[in-house]
């Protein structure tokens, strides 16, 4: 795919979208567009990275990126929010120009065509970095971190990929795992706990956990082994915290049924449950998330998501989705207008239960099946996030999971700050 040199003439610009949505913060529109178009760093910007201070892309767990380029893990904006940009960037196949992080007057800026748009700083690495577990492996193998969250990816491989065509077509995680010829599918919880203990020594750094991983389909019933693995992990880490209370923690897992949810809530001190519906249309879901559809199906996934509120309570359940992927070709929606109508109507049937939608900006990731596709216009993303925000406020969803500071991946949820 060659760069479309005329792309700027074919869609509304950042300024034009901001003018069309005056109640939508321009800084958030920029965040969405950086996710959408990607970002590169000038040599001056790279020279601002101090490996003794900053969290760089070559640190920690790999999954979304395997190129090992020396980039910051993320950017911090002046509103105290984070911009996660720790992805592989396909320099060869981009329809649009990326944003450029540059240094101007000794300060670091996100720029476009040389214009300063937002001053940023780089993620500061946590104290546990460069330390080792008792088996001699780096602690960063077992946990990773956002500025305020500890992330644990329990299973590195997703078994939906076992069936030909079963993996979600936007996801690069398992393709990257296979490309790197990794063998250790799951890490020993003992070493994860060692890493967590070390991380917790840093006062004021972390305010929550996010547990996730590839789906595990085995067990007496589908997902039973995945459930057992998470219960072992969440219990082991829970032992570090006060008895009789849940601790700030989020699990993003496959969609468990009621029997499994009951075990999860009763056997652990988990606080928040997330299962990602990914695509808000039954037909597109079946095509894009073929494995999820084969084993569970759209309607059942959605039913289980809603049912989980009975176990974790309103405000403690959310669902992730990959916004924009519904327009992928060849089987996605043909027009952004149709996609907007269908997915915002479907969104209300989920959000009305008090479930927040943590929507990522779809960025055709290198390694994924959809790697060479075009993502939608900035106007489309902002329109949908704007509608989702109306729904989130209308149904008073929980606002502190996957938010601007614990996650940083979901610009739409930033809107719940006001």
């Amino acid at each position: 795919m060659a760069r479309d040199l005329e792309w700027r003439k074919k869609e509304l610009s950042l300024d034009e979208v901001a003018a069309k949505f005056p109640s939508f913060p321009k800084l958030l529109i920029l965040k969405i567009d950086v996710q959408r178009r990607g970002v590169i760093y000038t040599e001056a910007a790279q020279s601002k990275i101090d490996p003794n201070i900053h969290q760089v892309q070559s640190d920690g767990q790999q999954g979304f990126r395997i190129e090992q380029r020396y980039f910051p893990e993320g950017l911090i904006l002046k509103d105290g929010s984070y911009l996660i940009v720790s992805y592989d960037y396909d320099f060869e196949n981009q329809k649009r120009d990326p944003y450029v992080v540059d240094v101007i007057d000794d300060r670091i800026w996100i720029t476009d065509e040389g214009r300063k748009l937002a001053e940023v700083s780089y993620f500061v690495k946590p104290d546990y970095y460069n330390k080792l577990a008792s088996n001699g492996e780096p602690l960063t193998k077992y946990i990773s971190s956002r500025p305020q969250r500890i992330d644990v990816v329990l299973n590195q491989y997703c078994h939906f990929w076992d069936r030909n065509g079963g993996g979600c077509k936007y996801c690069p995680l398992t393709p990257n795992y296979l490309k790197q010829k990794l063998k250790e599918e799951r890490y020993n919880v003992k070493y994860i706990v060692e890493a967590v203990k070390e991380a917790l020594k840093q006062e004021g750094r972390f305010s929550g956990f996010m547990f996730t991983g590839g789906s595990i389909l085995s067990g007496d019933n589908v997902l039973d082994d995945e459930l057992d693995a998470y219960i072992e992990l969440i219990k082991a880490i829970g032992d570090l915290f006060e008895d009789g209370k849940r601790y700030p923690s989020q699990l993003i897992s496959s969609a468990f049924d009621e029997r499994q949810l009951e075990r999860l809530v009763n056997e652990t001190k988990l606080m928040h449950y997330t299962t990602d519906i990914e695509v808000l249309d039954r037909e597109k879901f079946a095509w894009i998330c073929e494995g999820k559809n084969h084993y569970i199906g759209y309607d059942e996934w959605k039913r289980r998501l809603v049912a989980s509120i009975d176990y974790f309570g309103k405000g403690n359940v959310s669902s992730g989705m990959v916004l924009g992927v519904e327009l992928a070709s060849p089987n996605g929606f043909v027009s952004e207008e149709e996609a907007f109508k269908v997915i915002t109507e479907e969104a209300e049937t989920i959000v009305e239960n008090g479930i927040s939608l943590a929507a990522n900006v779809w960025r055709p990731a290198p390694g994924s099946v959809f790697q060479n596709q075009y993502n939608p216009s900035l106007e489309y993303f902002v329109s949908v996030y704007n509608k989702f925000d109306e729904l989130h406020h209308k149904y008073n969803v929980g606002r502190y999971t996957d938010d601007y500071r614990r996650c940083g991946m979901h610009p739409g949820l930033d809107l719940l700050r006001v």
Partner: protein, 152 residues
């Protein structure tokens, strides 16, 4: 260069002064809180801690930084001198070494958590002390007076 002179800086940084912050919520409703931590830093910016992430002032300050709204800071000294400082939100610090140092002190001294350290930039200072404003009105607007106060 900051518009806050050394006298005002001393007044603001004096722990006996009462200091409030007002910002406007998305709904348009103004919201005011008192901030004991409010002080002027070496750059001449106004800095204060926001303890509770769910606070309304946090919402109002985010609204200010997103939409370039004004914030006001009011200072009342122990001897009743009063100032209003009009400011713009500059930064919300939610992580990093400075954040962690403040967090550790708050935890140790008061068993508090910390949401953010807010930095706001003063753009205008008004002396709102009653004696000063009364004298100024008498000088600038002699028409503004009840007649019985002017009779011989």
């Amino acid at each position: 260069m900051s518009i806050i002179d050394n006298v005002l800086k001393e007044d603001i940084n004096n722990p006996t002064s009462l200091k409030s912050v007002t910002a406007v919520l998305k709904s348009g409703v103004p919201h005011t809180v008192y901030k004991g931590s409010l002080h002027v830093n070496e750059d001449g910016d106004i800095v204060f801690n926001d303890i509770l992430e769910s606070s309304r002032i946090n919402e109002a300050l985010v609204n200010a930084i997103w939409f370039d709204k004004y914030i006001t800071v009011n200072v009342l000294t122990e001897d009743k001198r009063s100032y209003e400082i009009i400011a713009k939100a500059k930064e919300s610090i939610t992580q990093g070494k400075e954040f962690e140092e403040v967090y550790k002190k708050l935890k140790k001294d008061r068993d508090f958590d910390l949401n953010a350290i807010w930095v706001i930039e003063p753009v205008e200072v008004r002396n709102e002390s009653f004696d000063y404003r009364k004298k100024k009105q008498e000088e600038d607007y002699p028409f503004l007076k009840h007649l019985d106060r002017a009779v011989k």
